[in-house]
Symmetry: D2
Subunit: 344 residues, 4 copies
């Protein structure tokens, strides 16, 4: 049994980690922390977990916790993780769900306007693209929710070197904004609406660019990236519409060629489902670790529209973190994660 702890277990990502770890056949949840709820039983704070664990929330003592755990998940705001991670790593492996270790430290400081206190390198935990490194890693930086849906949608095309520019237009459920009430999450503001935000300046674009550059391999074949996030009146899920503009010198693939390309690229990737011209639906991934991908070719415009759907709290967060844990401990990556979606 892998002994697992969650730092920051009362937020949405933390709650979801607790849910997944409690159901995991080869993991045991040994500690959960919450400053706000320390001392209280998990089931009293989070009634949906009543009956599933007798744990109480603890205060954050990372040294103590790391000694009791084989792996610690840090589900805390960016800027906080970098203070915990070095100490945890002395005793346990870490999957960090904050933004602190996703980017090159200089890039991090530029984007997050904050000095990096622990500029070490982590493995970027977009599991399908970095499985070999993750297996060897002691520190995995779990990707942002938007980058997960965006990069997986276009990786096969970018790796081919045929893409000039990608306009990502992403639509997220509001749970991505966290458990704290806000103007944006106020029901009368979001219901009967869709809210674009951080237009031209969402920080997740840096992760997307980093990964697409790696995939392309050369500056010449690295596409330009535009990214616009929206929140929609739904709780879970991210649907990413990727408008992929091909290079002038690229030939436009047929739908069949495209399907072949994606199927080869994602061969043996159990959480990627290639739907061809069937439309991905947030309903089909709700509560799951799947990323469903569909695509349409617009030959005249040398454009391919790729649509991906994930559950932002699972594949876009806690599920991918557990998938990474599985690899870090030599388990099949699907362990504890292969469940059908809650549909309808």
């Amino acid at each position: 049994m892998i002994k697992a702890a969650v730092i920051g277990a009362s937020g949405y990502i933390g709650m979801e980690l607790v849910r997944l770890l409690l159901m995991h056949p080869d993991a045991e949840l040994v500690a959960v922390t919450s400053r706000r709820f320390k001392g209280l039983r998990v089931g009293d704070v989070l009634p949906h977990l009543q009956g599933f664990t007798d744990l109480r929330f603890e205060d954050v003592d990372v040294t103590d916790i790391s000694k009791r755990a084989d792996i610690v998940f840090t589900a805390v705001p960016h800027g906080a993780a970098m203070n915990y991670v070095p100490k945890i790593l002395e005793n346990a492996k870490v999957v960090d769900l904050s933004a602190d270790y996703r980017l090159d430290p200089q890039e991090y400081e530029r984007i997050y306007k904050k000095k990096h206190e622990d500029p070490r390198t982590a493995v970027y935990g977009l599991t399908e693209l970095h499985a070999a490194e993750i297996k060897e890693a002691r520190l995995v930086a779990n990707p942002g929710c938007y980058p997960t849906g965006a990069v997986l949608a276009v990786a096969p095309l970018v790796a081919e070197g045929v893409v000039a520019h990608i306009v990502f237009d992403s639509k997220s459920g509001i749970s991505g904004g966290g458990a704290e009430p806000s103007e944006r999450s106020h029901f009368p503001n979001l219901a009967e609406n869709i809210i674009p935000y951080n237009i031209t300046k969402h920080r997740h674009v840096a992760e997307i660019r980093m990964e697409l550059a790696r995939l392309a391999g050369t500056p010449a074949t690295t596409p330009k990236v535009s990214f616009t996030p929206h929140v929609i009146p739904c709780i879970r899920g991210i649907l990413t519409t990727a408008h992929v503009l091909l290079r002038d010198d690229a030939s436009v693939p047929t739908p069949e060629q495209l399907k072949g390309l994606y199927e080869r690229f994602y061969e043996d990737k159990p959480f990627i489902r290639i739907l061809g011209e069937r439309t991905p639906s947030l309903s089909y991934v709700r509560g799951t670790n799947f990323c469903d991908i569909g695509f349409w070719v617009d030959e005249d415009a040398k454009r391919i529209v790729v649509v991906s759907a994930i559950d932002n709290l699972v594949k876009g967060g806690a599920g991918q973190a557990v998938q990474n844990m599985n690899l870090m401990f030599g388990l099949a990556e699907t362990t504890g994660l292969l469940t059908p979606s809650l549909t309808p």
Copy 2:
């Protein structure tokens, strides 16, 4: 391994049965039927199940299917089940999710305006109230979604004989209306709305009355029952607000007495969670087989307000059917069903 088949597997209840049976550690799904989709692979018709089964939908040949199965779930419209069940019972056990075997046949004919072709007696599958009979049964009539939430909410009080009248005001997600588009399920009609329907004449009231009479034991202590269903703009879940008016000669319990009463009544019932004065939430039961119950005492009015929350497709349908299957085959009733809700 219990070999299980689902007749009518493409509707919402049928889909949910498939989901639960595919995840069940001691059951194997051996056949699913759908007139409309016969011959097609389950994962092609229901994309969220892609990768979880290689079964194809079959036409309904109940004799053939019942020979390959230990148990058959009939998730078909009322009136259809009574034509299938006698043949299935020659070879296999049955949990019928239609209304055909829930009521006394005369009562059935009065309520459903239809001759009963197979007036045999079944065990009413409200698991918490009929476990002993269910263990011995070959035919279990799975309760309606509304009666499940309503009866469980008030059973301890009715069994005490202190109740004069119960006004059930129930609010259901629209998935209870099925997978076929209708006026009521048309998004612009239901969103930003709540729709009361079948006021004073919903057929589920007969089941509620039947069960409450059994619990009360005598006509004198059997409460009057009023029942008003509404659909709310949500997919899953039934919240039942039971306004329980006590008899003039009854003493009003304190909240602590009430909690004690409920906890004793539902002792060792793993799917009943007694919340006291905490408010049940559809979120806490989403995707689960739990029934969460809270209650409030209005001493002046000799009234108790009981609120229950269930997932209409799970505890109100497919989950309770699997819970019944577990008992019918000597398994722990929780087998394959103990999962935390998808919250948020």
Copy 3:
């Protein structure tokens, strides 16, 4: 032109008053206040009003404002209004939308746990029931949103003296909770849910009891009242399901008799629409001052189910306030208020 001012114009009720007054043919909006936004242009704070007024929010100087206005609407929290109203009344008429003047002062202090600083009597502004007094009033206490829908639903029956007990089960859009984000209004908490709250102790029940006692005329014919509010995942509207239990000695009316009773009671009341057994819909009253009422007779149970639908911000707040203003200034009560709903 009636010169009108709104104290507390940046909340939902205040905003709605501004909308209605800007469209009113015989009123001119001369001042709006907001502590938080003082000095800012209305259209800059509330973009949907951009282009409709050049007013700026002012700080609350009630003496000054009351000198510039013929009528002042106080859309402020309870407890605040009683400090403003006496000064305003020296110069102008008042429609108070807080709870401060709705109840007898002793009852107010008991319910709101707060000393009443200005224990004067106001006219209760449930327009259809108090039109004659409202025409003569200088101070009208605008009713709460729930009492408006609840009392109008049952008034004709209560006035007949045939009712023993009414169980009001009310469902409100979340805008009734105001413009400030809260746990309850947090989208992931309310979406896919319905939340009962303040069970057995919502303060609006006092208003309902007061009005029903007036209608009944004698203690013996005054019904018992139970009231349970819920919020539903929608923005606007209150649907009230009134379960009316008749007295043992009352005869149960036929649907036709009931329709006759309601039509006579509400004769010449332009905002009451009697639907008979057609179901009221929040959609049909959205944005309007109508109260739609339907009813169903359950002869066996000596019960009548009455369903009413209002827009909580209009008939349940700002619209009724303007309706009262119209009467206070000798206008037709429909002036500026007769618009079809925004359907769908």
Copy 4:
């Protein structure tokens, strides 16, 4: 008084026309048709209009109706309008809300796969861009809902000749799909979801291309157009996110220059509100004829993100039709249309 008739008045666009015409100070609604509901009173079929008109739905006799009207609105499916319009034009003016007269007839036949029976030229009724022609027109082809939001969002930039490619990513409320229940409008399919559809092949793209070519003036400066529609879980409104990629030889404007450009282009256009970097909201245009526009400059990517919000049934349909009627009869274009949105 302008005598107005609506052919096809029981659909969503038709209902909205009826609502607007009933409130219009200078128009009188003289006839409404509906095959399905002929003979029935409008208020009995559409309860929200009860009390606003005594009209009954008539069968479609266009000659008769056109003799009683000064203007006829044809709110019928494409393919049907072309059979009615020639006859109506003998007696009355027409605003056609179908697709039949929007495109060049050859283009129409190519896109709609249907022979055009009446290949006459109409004025394209995107009011802000064609006001002068509309004033003189007897036949106006009212634009599609998506083209209205899309073209208005980018017209000033396209007219400058600086745009290489525009990726329109549009999100619409489901009322755009009409009053008939469908798979897409089935609540469990749309709630908690967002559904892209007709990817790379929605027919409205032809209108967008036509208008942008007119604005650009020359083939060389006409941008490439990509268009992807989605339905979101809301009733009304279209939010269009226009990703505008500038030509390599164009200089990127500052936000201030952009604001100046838009304000000049839309000077004296009362329904266009330029928000700068404030985010348009469906809430602010709900029930209104406004088109709110915001924009953000991404200098590095030579990209401008323009976001527009309209109510698809008003500015995207019935409201713009009335705006066109106003011009066709010499009225101010705002007559009967200047109302604040229903917010929240």
